[in-house]
Amino acid sequence: MTHAHESASLTGLLDTDAIRKDFPVLQRLLHDDKPLVYLDNAATSQKPRQVLEALTAYYERHNANVHRGVHVLAEEATALYEGARDKVADFVNAPSRNEVIFTKNASESLNLVANMLGWADEPYRVDADSEIVITEMEHHSNIVPWQLLSQRTGAKLKWFGLTDEGRLDLSNIDELITEKTKVVSFTLVSNLLGTINPVETIVRKAQSVGALVVIDASQAAPHMVLDVQALEADFVAFTGHKMLAPTGIGVLWGRQELLEDLPPFLGGGEMIETVTMGSSTYAPAPHKFEAGTPPIAQAVGLGAAIDYLSGIGMEKIAAHEHAITAYAVERLLEIPDLRIIGPRTAVDRGAAISFTLGDIHPHDVGQVLDEQGIAVRVGHHCARPVCLRYGIPATTRASFYLYSTPGEVDALIDGLHHVRNFFG
């Protein structure tokens, strides 16, 4: 690659040659002979052999339903499922394993919180006198559940705006977060802009008015150390499939006393203590919030993914991605007409970089890149308000992970030059 001398000087990189051998799909050739350059990690990550083997081993040797039955397989399946909960609790530094609720994805986690608060008694109840605060950079999954709650309860929905540089505009924080605020929900890392948000400032303000804090960590958990105690949030949501695990498994972490006080949302098997035809009493958290047969194999897969990530180390993964992101930002800005939507620096930013390329539509950018084996995401990335804010219909987004290489950044840059020539 033409810029090999520059990329060779990057520090903090992981041994991607070794890591990539664990990911079978990364060996694929596309369109006959083009190596796959997978830069769509903010949408979903690829899966290492260790996770795939954990899934296979679960189904081949241990498959049973959990928490019921006394046979060997039922006990093994339960131990594996609950073992995954222990791994998640360790991974996020939860004070208690009972604070980890398994869901199907981050969207379900966020919907669960919104519904808990809509049905709660005082002091948590969101009603017509309440205000809910979100931000303009949220994924639709952290907008629509709050819109629904607002419409159903009459609560007022407010949001932080964005600066031209792609950061949260905190200048009116005192008008936004007030004594009426019941809940503040925001993303730790933007899936479109890549921005890492100033958690402490927002949490301090929310705490000062007694509001609950919900953090969407979907783009953080895969990429950095996530410590729910350090965040001082009340709820933290994330999804497994962006962090090497299968689809169909998500997590909601919540503070124990809240989970004890708040009402269940979905009813069914597993979440009860006793049931009569007239009424029921509920199991303690987390089971109170896990109605029905859970995604057992997927939870086991998430446990294996956490083992894999922890084996490398989240600090090292974060350092690797920071180096790749800094290199990518620098090289993207070399391209004429390319506009980064979000911070034009690697400071306080994650490994997702959105951009526009002159007036070439992102669909066309993505199609021509695909022809070269390069997978990026195009569109509004389930964050349409961000596109509206910056006056653009859509963006192209490249997003990196622990197996991404400087050579893949170079391939992207070469590919974008080809796109410009093609439509020039």
Partner: protein
Amino acid sequence: MKLDSMYQDIILDHYRNPHGKGLRDGDAEVHHVNPTCGDEITLRVRLDGSTVADVSYESQGCSISQASASVLNDLVVGKTVGEAQAVQEAFLELMQSKGQGEGDEEVLEDAVAFAGVSKYPARVKCALLSWMAWKDATAKALAQNPAVND
């Protein structure tokens, strides 16, 4: 190369120099969006008796959706509503052919260039956006003027 089967020169020409773009007077207006990618079109139809007198539009989107709107304008303006609907149905059939159809050049003219797009499921909606908007707007225009029944 596969890419050239999608981005035919005819399509790129229409993309760079779209025909009939801009909003003019019409009997009916519709706004259609492609929710997966954010492409949008506002389209107006003006009828003169049973003839499609004008199709005008403002749109934003990829080369495929922009070129498709331009070709639509070429193909339906000046035809009777019935003739234009037949062209629309032929185009829809071509786009749903999953790369198998070639299209009748007698009927579809420049629009046969979109045959390659039908191989790409993610892009078929781009090609159909303006055509579905036209179909919708025409139905509205006809409903306002029931005397025209071609």
